[in-house]
């Protein structure tokens, strides 16, 4: 609490306000970039995310072994030998399967968050902008959605629709959009009384234009921050669903799926479940760190 007044000495005599605006030559973008660069944890998160994105894009070229090649005689080789992270029950290379799984995991994470954000933005904009009865109805619907534990909602949908990554994406998007709607709505409520919105209204712009052209761009920072951190949720959820046998199919070998296969051999081959789970944790950590960093940079109000 003892904030000292001995900050850096002022080099020049106080300048006139007019000059201050001239001196302030860094744009928001430059300033944000500068702050991001000074944030080592955010950089670390970015590095993790880029690494996994590269694995996802070039995965098939990078796998040391064919992730689907079975060789029972090679089953459950311990890590460290020819197979860096060992082999699974079918003698498949665990590292190769993890690299292969990165693509699906990231694809699920990014596409689910995109769909959630799209629905959430529309609902949040309309509810926040119009208020009144429209808002009341929409937000009660959001409350009802949020009352269900997301994973169970997703599991129930998977039970009705059957396994497969497309269904996982549908189920997780369906279960997760309300959080975005709440977020956008609260942003819109604080923005819609601003002068520029009133000016736009005074100029006779129609509501859709005001919402999407004037209000939405100003919510974007918050949405980007939340979406980045939010990618972690579907990645964990997909792993959980697949682990329970309600997610990916065997052709879509994801990390969670691999863990569900190897779980029964955990006692003798600990690496089978450990490494795929570690992959989930690292990628989630990456998105969380990056999201935290972006929040500090883009939206100082939300700072921890």
């Amino acid at each position: 609490m003892s904030s000292s007044n001995l900050q850096s000495p002022i080099p020049e005599p106080p300048v006139m306000p007019a000059e201050v605006t001239i001196q302030r030559s860094t744009s928001f973008r430059d300033d944000a970039l500068r702050r991001f660069k000074k944030n080592p944890t955010a950089i670390f998160g970015l590095v993790i995310v880029i690494l996994f994105l590269l694995l996802a894009i070039f995965g098939r070229q990078l796998t040391p072994f064919d992730p689907f090649a079975q060789n029972i005689r090679n089953a459950h080789q311990a890590p460290g030998g020819e197979h860096l992270l060992g082999t699974d029950f079918f003698g498949r290379d665990v590292l190769s399967r993890i690299i292969y799984g990165a693509r699906i995991s990231l694809f699920v994470g990014v596409s689910v968050v995109t769909i959630q954000a799209a629905i959430g933005v529309v609902v949040g904009l309309v509810a926040g902008y119009y208020g009144g009865k429209i808002e009341a109805v929409m937000m009660r619907l959001v409350d009802a959605f949020i009352a269900f534990p997301g994973i169970i909602l997703a599991m129930a949908i998977m039970a009705v629709r059957g396994q497969g990554i497309e269904n996982v994406i549908f189920a997780l998007s369906f279960a997760g959009w309300p959080t975005f709607a709440r977020l956008v709505r609260s942003e819109v409520i604080s923005l819609k009384e601003r002068e520029y919105v009133q000016a736009a209204r005074g100029l006779g712009f129609h509501d859709a234009k005001i919402m999407f052209k004037h209000i939405l761009p100003n919510c974007l920072a918050t949405i980007i921050v939340y979406a980045t951190m939010g990618i972690a949720n579907p990645i964990i959820a997909e792993a959980g669903l697949s682990f329970l046998g309600l997610g990916a199919t065997s052709e879509q070998a994801t990390w969670g799926f691999q863990m569900s296969l190897e779980r029964q051999y955990m006692r003798t081959a600990w690496w089978g479940v450990t490494f795929p789970g570690l992959a989930v944790m690292i990628v989630v950590l990456g998105f969380n760190l990056l999201g935290d960093g972006l929040r500090d940079v883009l939206d100082p109000r939300m700072k921890e």
């Binding site: 009352a147 169970i152 629709r161 309600l246």
Partner: protein, 306 residues
Amino acid sequence: MHIYIMKRLLQAIPVIFLVTVLTFSLVHLVPGDPALMRAGEDATAEQVEAIREAMGLNEPIYKQYTKWVSGIMRGDMGYSLQDGRPVFSTLIQRLPATMKLVMASFIVSIGIGVPVGILSAVKQNTFADSFARVFALLGISMPNFWMGLMLMLIFSYSLRMLPASGSGTLAHLIMPAIALGMPGAGIITRLTRSSMLEVMKQDYIRTARAKGLRRQLVIYKHALKNAMLPVVTVIGVQLGSRLGGSVIVESIFAYPGIGRFAYTRLLARDYPMIMGNLFIFAMIFILINLITDILYGFLEPRIRYD
């Protein structure tokens, strides 16, 4: 205050109505044929038809819905497709075990999150702070089922200290509670830290310090009390993900709660049971959040005027 409570109660009614609509439409309107899924791929057309009849799927959709809702009002959620037992009593029977687990997981989250968060805030920008923040981040990033498996690997298989499955004793509860509670511990650590830092900037804290109160006293008596407010709400908010997490964690540890039961019935496509389960979980969530909202109204009078 009465008005505030009444308002909250009235708000819950449309939400509960929408919860019934959602639960019902999930099974009946989502593309995919529940009867076909229930019967399995090699069922004959007659078998599928028989299941459709048993599930009442041949009636018009609105009739099925009103039948289901009027049943709920009488505490009748229909009967299991698998063993014919009443849905409501079967589920309620398994609820206490899960509530015990969820409670234990909150003890883990709060017991770890609050002290670590305070430490982190009080010793801001020190090594202890960095350590606490890394700890919180790892807790948040770890999938709960993976954490459960790792605990099992270490404490059951390697060290042989704790039982890997079952229930009954406190030892059975430790690992599931940690697996379920750790992500929350991370969230509560961060929340406690940020709200402590926020509160410690306030004027009344400076006043308390200025009039000569000891730093310790100010932190624990004045700051902590107010910093705990957001933690109260987060418990309500997190309840949903705890109930959801219980499905996976209970399955891993073969813990006989409602979560593991829900999972087995999901795999068996026991639709009345699935619907009953969704509905009960949603009702618990609404009820607990109503309680935390009202509690919050008592703790923070300003909120009532929102």
